[in-house]
């Protein structure tokens, strides 16, 4: 047998062996990793419906969506006005109030999870400390949110997250 051809074939063979071994191991890792993602039943539970019919202006309720609190606030017209007139310049995460709700400015729907390190801010109950801007106040590290859910003061980097939702006939569907 020709020595050179022999060597070439061996190298090709061994390279194929390595490749298949690596591909096999990578393929084996997929089920292990993907099994840690949300299971089908967990994903199926990812929709929450809330009836907004009884929510009076100025009131707030908390719903549960994907294991996290969702703040729903029925804002008064003064509050809406106040949120609109804020000077966006100088805000940590500048966003107009119009971008913070869908369809109806009366209902603000945000995740009740502080964007700093995940605590639940105060401000849903009438007796709560609502912070310096009349919205929410996170007791963990002192982040202040305004009535539009925007971060105004404190360590949190972002405005409160808006979950995917739609409101039809006073029925709020989150997720």
């Amino acid at each position: 047998m020709d020595g050179k051809a022999d060597k070439g074939r061996r190298d090709f063979l061994i390279l194929t062996g390595y490749t298949m071994g690596a591909a096999g191991l990578a393929g084996l890792a997929v089920p292990f990793i993907d099994s840690l993602n949300p299971a089908a039943d967990t994903q199926a539970l990812a929709t929450t419906e809330v009836n907004l019919g009884l929510l009076q202006p100025g009131q707030a309720i908390t719903a549960m969506w994907r294991g996290k609190p969702v703040f729903i606030r029925h804002r008064t017209s003064e509050e809406i006005e106040q949120a609109r007139t804020v000077e966006l310049k100088g805000l940590p995460d500048p966003e107009a109030d119009e971008a913070r709700f869908k369809d109806n400015p009366q209902f603000l729907v945000v995740l009740g999870v502080c964007t700093h390190l995940g605590c639940v801010p105060l401000g849903q109950k009438p007796t709560d400390n609502k912070g310096d801007f009349g919205g929410w106040f996170c007791p963990c590290h002192g982040s202040h949110y305004d009535i539009s859910g925007r971060i105004r003061k404190g360590p949190a980097p972002k405005n409160l997250t808006i979950p995917p939702y739609e409101i039809k006939d006073k029925l709020l569907k989150i997720g």
Binding site: R10, L13, I14, T16, G17, M20, G21, A23, G24, G27, A40, D41, A44, L45, T47
Partner: protein
């Protein structure tokens, strides 16, 4: 008894493994074999049979309406099916439980509140849950099909039992379940003639899917992975031969 040694020794004598019961009728199921898949039309007809016949006594606790997408329904169809059932939910803000239309995430409607209620309504016999029935019975789908189509006139030497029905495929030969199927008892949505045999095949297919919903994916991936490993074996065989050839020199 499906133990390994039994298989080795008695592979050719199935009657010994199923002592006292008639040899099962075998059906060439579409989901058998290496490339087996479910026949979607049969699955949907089978679901109709379950819904209109079996479900009045048998629960399927492990299934949710969302699973029905697996038998070919669209999400909207699943929603519509789920909505036809009333589901208890709650407590609401007043602390009370309330009824609402079903949602895809809900488990299948259960005919009885608990096992005791099921026994009370069935002369003390408990209609088994059907979620895993083809996996939980020796013979699997063939057994379910044989049982459904196996009701017969009892032979003279069998002592009749009050309130029980003769079925040679059942372990004790006398079963508490009334013969569940009769020709044209339901009207298939796709117009297939609803014979006992057709309904038995369809509902068995549906139950086989319910027991092993992963079967199609499992076999598809299995085939690819086995091919991969087989080729890998051949490659390794040659690498091994080359490496060891060095010692001969």
């Amino acid at each position: 008894m499906r133990s390994f040694f039994l298989y080795l020794v008695f592979l050719t004598v199935p009657s010994l493994a199923m002592e006292g019961t008639a040899p099962l009728k075998t059906v060439d199921w579409s989901f058998n074999g290496i490339f087996g898949t479910f026949d979607r039309a049969s699955l949907q007809r089978g679901f109709q049979v379950y819904k209109e016949v079996c479900a009045s006594c048998h629960s399927m606790k492990l299934l949710s309406y969302r699973n029905l997408e697996g038998i070919g329904y669209t999400p909207n169809q699943v929603k519509a099916i789920a909505q036809t059932y009333e589901v208890q939910d709650g407590p609401n803000d007043d602390g009370e439980m309330f009824m609402r239309p079903g949602k895809p995430k809900d488990r299948f409607f259960q005919p009885y509140a608990n096992d005791q209620a099921a026994r009370a309504a069935n002369n003390g016999a408990l209609p088994p849950d059907l979620s895993l029935i083809t996996k939980a019975r020796e013979g699997g789908a063939d057994y379910v099909y044989s049982l459904l189509t196996g009701y017969a006139e009892a032979p003279v030497n069998e002592k009749p039992m009050v309130g029980l029905y003769y079925n040679p495929y059942f372990s004790a030969h006398w079963i508490a379940m009334i013969p569940p199927l009769s020709d044209d008892m339901i009207e298939y949505q796709d117009g297939t003639p609803a014979t006992v045999d057709q309904m038995a095949q369809d509902v068995t297919t549906f139950l086989a899917w319910a027991s092993e919903p992963e079967i199609e994916v499992r076999k598809q991936w299995g085939f690819r992975i086995i091919i991969f490993l087989f080729i890998f074996s051949i490659v390794m065989f040659f690498i091994n031969a080359r490496i060891w050839a060095r010692l001969e020199k």
